[in-house]
Symmetry: C2
Subunit: 292 residues, 2 copies
């Protein structure tokens, strides 16, 4: 199984702001996250790297060290690629992994009545990004900044969700939360031809200390629209317990038929704590959306 992702200076990282090792680590983590959400075991990667000559010394060494540390963690080896000179730093990473035949998770298997689940917590990476850009320190607010710089990838969870010859398949559809819950769930809805209802109070939002909540951070907004958490968002017919998944998973809603009246023209509806129901537009990451 193969997947391929771009990692671009000024879009996905800031070369003079982000620690070089974190850029390398995250470039590979981001690409590998796609494999994890398909239920594959990562094995190898290829790197196409274009960069200015001035970045080929220490900067590139740091980048490759960070990438090597991610590769060790995920159990991958570098098998090829190329290097070019270019005015800005642009990377493309192709990752390959293996899965049992017939045990691959896609976005298109969600069916009405399935539960909607997500692993871990949501919103920490977006909060970490904003805190890191303010302080430019990897040590301050490390609880949030670390998931932004060095995200963990739930590879083992993906393997369990897809099932093996010995164990039953758990998930009907899956995606990694790279763009943000509202956008990633809409991808599943579109690919599966269904709608979704989620409950605000069920969403495992990042737990913010009061000083940050006063500082303008809204845990629910971060969880709904913040990207780069690299958790797995999945649907399943039967109930799923964290002990089956080997990692904390939370049921946040359910899949509805596409023509269900309550969809109200949007693919996702959200039930707030007050009981009020609203449409949820995809407002996560989209590099082509016009700035507002």
């Amino acid at each position: 199984m193969l997947s391929s992702d771009s990692f671009l200076e000024g879009v996905h990282f800031l070369a003079d702001v982000h620690p070089t090792r974190a850029v390398g680590y995250k470039a590979l983590a981001r690409a590998t996250s796609d494999l994890a959400a398909m239920g594959a075991q990562p094995r190898f990667f290829m790197l196409n790297l274009a960069l200015p000559a001035s970045r080929t010394g220490r900067w590139m060494d740091g980048l490759l060290a960070g990438m090597a540390s991610a590769a060790r963690r995920f159990g991958m080896v570098l098998i090829g690629g190329d290097t070019s000179q270019y005015p800005s730093i642009v990377m493309s990473i192709t990752v390959g992994g293996v899965a049992d035949v017939g045990h691959i998770l896609t976005r298109s298997g969600a069916r009405p009545g399935d539960g909607i689940y997500v692993s871990g917590t949501l919103g920490a990476a977006q909060c970490g990004l904003e805190l890191f850009l303010r302080s430019r320190s990897a040590k301050r607010n490390a609880t949030f900044v670390r998931p932004h710089l060095y995200p963990r990838i739930p590879i083992e969870l993906g393997r369990r969700l897809t099932g093996t010859d010995a164990r039953a398949r758990i998930a009907s559809a899956a995606i990694d939360t790279s763009d943000g819950l509202s956008t990633d769930l809409s991808h599943i809805c579109r690919a599966s031809g269904v709608c979704a209802r989620i409950f605000a109070e069920k969403i495992p939002c990042v737990n913010l200390p009061p000083r940050l909540q006063y500082g303008g951070f809204d845990p629910l907004k971060l969880a709904l629209h913040g990207g780069e958490d690299y958790q797995i968002l999945f649907t399943a017919k039967g109930p799923v317990e964290s002990r089956d998944a080997g990692l904390k998973v939370t049921r946040i809603g359910e899949i509805l038929p596409r023509r269900h009246g309550e969809c109200r023209g949007a693919l996702i509806e959200i039930v707030h704590r007050s009981g009020r129901t609203a449409r949820l537009a995809p407002r996560g990451w989209d590099s082509f959306r016009k700035k507002q």
Copy 2:
């Protein structure tokens, strides 16, 4: 078998000068050429495309049409990738193909005594690039400009060179002439731990009409250092006839042992028509070389 290549605006193409379809065609051809020189049958590709929003309409349609026409010619299908917004156009293409187990051509198999061969003619693409940049017309000097814009890839030759279960292997090492003969042959020499001697009069140089020779074009220089011909440069123990290869191939020299006195400190020596022997430095394409 997988290979991955960058294709970058301002390095590999000029977005406002090159025909859009040619950019798409050549991006895929360039990546596929690596597979051909490994003896693989191309099967699929993935495209990571980053570009400004202003290029997402007609320009991108033309790009994809050119890529689709290359994919049809080479027998490949698009299986994935991603699209991002970026200030310049950067592409990364990962291609995959199949080869019989144990029948893969590498750069490292050349041995002293092997003959050095190249398919087709060399220098047309570099000549075409320079003519095209002067005239900005794809129709004028089409004999030369066409190989620059729409290079043919000798996939069938690569398959024959590597042999099959039914047919003996022909080549001991191979590479595609993407960077220029002097650079690509030095890659084989370095990977195989050998030196090489080539004969100027044997090189199948592009055949230029007198008006272009007066115009400052030197067929031998174009053939030695011009890149992007996407022919296959290979070494073989036994003699190779064009009829075995299914395509015109020319013996241009021989492989020498690394410590052969005649290497004179360089990896390649060239014997000129006059009988004079000189070192041949790699002066083909290298995006990191300082401008002279």
